[in-house]
Structure formats: C-alpha cells, structure tokens
C-alpha cells in the first residue's frame, strides 16, 4: 500500500525548494527532446522531399520489352538438324522487339487488378530537336498527359503551361527546360523533331518540363501518345512501355515478378530500380537518431548527477523519514517521482520547443532550381515523433533516477543519525 499523496507532496516540496537544480535538470531534457524533434522532423522532411523527387515520378512497376537476342534461334526449330551441334555466330537482336505486343489488353488486365491504381501506356523514342541550324539529340515520350498528372504528379514538374494544354493541343510538345534554354525557345514557338528513321515534324511548344535533374531536362520532352504514333508512322496499338502505380508500394516486387512470368516482358519494380535511394534514407535516419540519442543521454547524465546531489543533501530527511516509519520503497518512490516530474516537465517543454522550431523552419524560404515544387524548408510533422520523443524523455529520466533512488532506498538511518 503506497500513499501517493504523501510521496508526491514530499517530492514536490523537494523540487520546489531546489528550484534552480530542478530547472537545470528539466532544461537538459528540454534541450535533448527539442533538438530531437527538430532534427527528426527536418531530416525526415528532407528525406521525403528527396525521395519524392525520384519516387513520385517513378512508376512502381515499369514494364517494357528489353532488347535482347532471342533465346531460341530459328535453327533450333528446324528438325532436320536436331541431332547435330549448331553454332550460330554474331547473334543480333531484332529491332521490332521494342514494341509490347498486345499492350492494350495487358493494360486492361492490369487495371482490373485490385492492387493497381493505374497502368499507363507510353511510347518512347529517340529523336532530334531541330530549331534553325541547331540539331540536338533527345528523347520524346508519348503520354496521356492528364493521367500522368493524376498518377505521377506530372503537373509538379511543369514550369510553364499545363498538362491540360498538352492534352488539348494536337501536335503539341512539352519541352525539357534544358533544351528550351539551349535553343532559346519560348512557349508558343515551334520546334521541329525528327525521328531516327527520317522525316521532320513541327510541334508547338505548350509548356516546359523541369524534373530537377539537369541531365534529364536537357534531353527529355513529352507529347501526346497519338502525336508520337503519327510521327513514327505506327498504329495506335504501338506501345513501348507500361507504367504501373500501385496502392501499396510493397506489392511492387511480387507483382513485377508475376507480370514477367505471365507476359514474358521485363518488369522492374521501384525498389530494385532505386536501391541506392533507400540506402541514403537509411543513413540519414541513422545519423538523426544517433545525434538525438546522444543528446538525450547527456541530458540523462545531467538528471543523474542532480538527483545524486539532491540525495546527498537530503540524507537527513531520508533518515528522519525512515525513522518515523517510511519504508525504503517509499523513499525510493519519492526520488523516482522527482526524476519523473523533471522528465515530464522537461519533455513537454521540449516537445513545445521542438514544435515551435519546426514551425519556424517550415516558413523559411528554400528555393532551388533543382526542386521546382519546393518553396520552404521541408518539415515532416509526424505525431509519432512526438510520441517517441516523450517516451524517450520519460524512459531516460526513469533510468537516470533509478540508480540514485535505489541508493536512497538502501541508506541506513542509524548511520546518518550517528554521524550527526
């Protein structure tokens, strides 16, 4: 049976009469938790931003036809030489393999899968941009602009013009900003494109595309799928790539394997394609937690020290309490409550300070060429961080208070009374 009223009252009196030490100890925790919240919100915000830079516009599964030589060469189909040993030198792949056969039925099939948010066809090709006397090599991708904007945030990467404009303009082109700079083109100008197999087609510039990756922006442009099929002189079932977006990114790997088996196509899932990205995220998280935990451990030692001192100063009180009938456990609880009160007050203040600082950072302008969609420093205000921060404050003060309070529990009143 523990009389919490009495114990908390004694703890409170001790803390209030030593308000300076109490404040110092609490501020240690405040500092630790405050920096943890600030750091972790900022770092994970940064992580999310960098991830989005790549992952938002990257399909969860990218399906295409890898150009590779047929595994079965025609000669092996010929029965007359079946018993003999055939050597075929200098095997070359067929060019027609770029196209995905039966692309439209495959898209229909994928759209019916309940894990799939959408499957979009694309036509990719190499072309030359021609404006006046300049010729630049590059990629032109035929897309369904509105769907791309819906599923892959295409709109975020358009700096002038819009996806609607592209959708509604026949022979329109969304030009990579790097190409536009090199060729000094404006929206509304015309640029001529020439596919590898010949011909020149004038296209009207409806907007500029900026992914934030300079190398990509210097070659990549977009147009309607119909337009590119016309430029290439292909039928409207000519599709080279299918991009799939899922509801749950974790399904990407198993589904990609299934597609590969089912359709004999190459299907790359997002994790495989961007493995290096995950590593970066992991390492940044590691640094964040290492720094935060160090701060909290330092704060913990502060509390440990102050409680030790407090117990040393309160030897007499401890002896009196024990002589008048308080048990060792009561005395331990008195000092544990002091530690927990320090942790609680310091922790809550730390959360408030962390919240204040992150809110402040969230308003600081952060403009960079590479990230057209970012206006201020990125902050990830995840409530989970606040829960973790607070639990950590309580845990570290508990550990810091445990040893000194254990010592107080064991103090022999007779020794103190004799020592007087």
């Amino acid at each position: 049976m523990t009389n919490w009223n009495v114990i908390l009252n004694i703890a409170k009196t001790h803390l209030l009469t030593k308000i300076k030490q109490t404040a110092t100890a609490s501020l240690g925790v405040t500092f630790g938790i405050g920096s943890y919240i600030t750091l972790v919100c900022f770092m994970t915000g940064l992580n999310a931003m960098l991830d989005n830079l790549i992952l938002n516009q990257t399909p969860h599964i990218h399906i295409y036809n890898e150009i590779e030589p047929s595994k079965k060469q025609p000669i092996s189909l010929y029965d007359n030489v079946g018993e003999s040993f055939n050597v075929v030198h200098s095997i070359k792949p067929k060019i027609s393999q770029k196209k995905i056969h039966n692309a439209l039925p495959i898209i229909d099939h994928l759209e019916k899968n309940k894990d799939v948010r959408g499957a979009l066809p694309q036509v990719k090709t190499q072309i030359f941009y021609i404006a006046g006397s300049i010729e630049l090599g590059g990629n032109l991708t035929g897309i369904n602009p509105i769907d791309e904007a819906r599923l892959f945030n295409m709109g975020d990467y358009i700096v002038e013009g819009s996806t609607e404009a592209l959708q509604n303009t026949d022979n329109g082109i969304l030009l990579g900003i790097g190409i536009a700079k090199k060729m000094s083109l404006k929206v509304g100008d015309r640029v001529q494109v020439s596919p590898i197999n010949g011909g020149v087609f004038p296209l009207k510039i409806v907007g500029f595309y900026q992914s934030g990756i300079a190398d990509l922006d210097a070659i990549q442009s977009f147009t309607n799928i119909k337009t590119i099929q016309r430029i290439l002189g292909k039928a409207n079932n000519y599709i080279t790539d299918i991009n799939v977006k899922l509801y749950d990114i974790e399904q990407a790997f198993p589904l990609s394997k299934k597609i590969e088996q089912q359709f004999k196509l190459t299907a790359i899932d997002i994790k495989t394609a961007n493995a290096q990205f995950e590593t970066g995220t992991t390492i940044r998280n590691l640094i964040t937690y290492a720094v935060s935990i160090t701060l909290l451990i330092v704060a913990g030692f502060g509390i440990y020290n102050i409680l030790n001192m407090l117990i040393y100063e309160k030897m007499n009180d401890i002896a009196i309490l024990k002589a008048t009938g308080f048990s060792g456990k009561d005395v331990q609880l008195i000092f544990m409550s002091q530690a927990m009160i320090i942790g609680f007050v310091g922790g809550v203040l730390g959360l408030l300070i962390g919240f204040g600082l992150t809110s402040l950072i969230d308003t600081i302008p952060f403009k960079t060429e590479a990230l057209p969609t970012v206006e201020t420093y990125p902050i990830n205000l995840n409530p989970m961080f606040f829960v973790i921060g607070f639990s950590f404050a309580m845990l570290s003060t508990f550990l810091a208070g445990y040893l000194p309070s254990k010592k107080a529990k064991k103090i022999d009143p007779v020794r103190i009374i004799r020592g007087q």
């Binding site: 009389n3 009196i320 009938g325 048990s327 456990k329 009561d330 007779v414 009374i417 004799r418």
Partner: protein
Amino acid sequence: MSIVLEAKHINKYFKKPVLFHVLKDINFQVKKGEFASIMGKSGCGKSTLLYILSTMDTDYEGELLLNNKLITNQSRDHFSYIRNKHIGFVFQFHYLLSEFSVLENVMLPAKKLAEKSHEEIEHDAFEKLKMLNIAHLAKKRASRVSGGEKQRIAIARALINNPSIIMGDEPTGNLDSHNAENVFNIFKKLSDEQRLSLLIVTHDEDFANKTDRIIQMADGKIIS
C-alpha cells in the same frame, strides 16, 4: 500490569574495524505507563541499544517483543510499519524536515499511516502542538524555530500516531535547564495521564532521578 517492550538476551557485535562486543546479554522490560531512563558512561552502548529497540537496527542476536509479540526477524517493510504506528522516537538533535512547515512535520507520520482523514490528522496535530504550548508555530517553516521549540515539535511528531512507547536518545541533551525541565514535565504528564510508556537515555542526573526507574548500563551490560 501489561508489558509493552521486552528485550531478551540481546547481543550485538560491531565487526568493523575490529570485532567488538557492544551489548552483552541485555534483558529488561518496560511496562505500560512506565517512565524509565537509561544511564551510563559515554560509549557504554546506550544509543546502540536504543536503535535496536526502535527496530532501526536489525543486526543483533536475541529477541525483542512489542506488546508481547515477537518482532525479531520480520521484513523491513513491517519494521517501518511498527516504527510508524507503535514507536515514537525523539533524537538528541532535533531532526525535522527543514523545508516543511511545523504542522506538516508533525502530520507526516500520520499521513504515512493513513488511518485517518486529512482533517482529522490536522486536528490531532494541532492538539499535540497545543499540549506542548507551540500551537502558534504551526505555520512556520521548521528551519525557522528555536532549538527548544524544535525539540517539542519532534515530541509532538513522536506522539501523533498515539504510539505504544516513546524512545528518546538524550532528548534534553542540548537544552538549557529550563527547557529540559519543560520537556521532562511533558513526558511525566504523558506517562501519568495517558499511561504512555517512555524509555529515555539521559546523562542528566536530576532528570533521571525524577523518573520511575533508572536502568544503569556499563560496558554493554545492564548493572541495575
């Protein structure tokens, strides 16, 4: 007459720095309402005996009975309870919690015992302070009262749970003769009127002579 406290064959050794036999076969009884004093030369083991009797020191041989119940070899928590409920202890030096008010100091053991409501405890504490003529100090901080006053506050605290016995280790040791007289009168009144048992260690010959019985100690033994 019923026996409140009984010591049977108490032996105590200090093992450090050298083996030292402090208490040698101590046997005695304190009856209900009896006011007994312990005298003896400095270093003969009076304080040591008192710490054992008050259950604060458990490292001894022999048996201790409180209200005819054996209380040797019980759990520490139970000893805490016994000290809280049955034993009032008054030290030579006025041991008070200096950051608390006088009233809070007196109330603390009763709050720990938690047998009464807060209001009852406060009322009782006031009564004890009044009886000791220090009710006007109730709201003062314990660090801001005089030595003689502190001694009386400590007595009030020892009385708050209406214990079976009060033990004192030279409670008048550093009081002037007037205050010492005052404390003696308080003890005498408690033993006469409330039939409280008292066991007081003292070096004050006059004080001891006025008590019901003097227990003389020498060299860790009771000699009379």
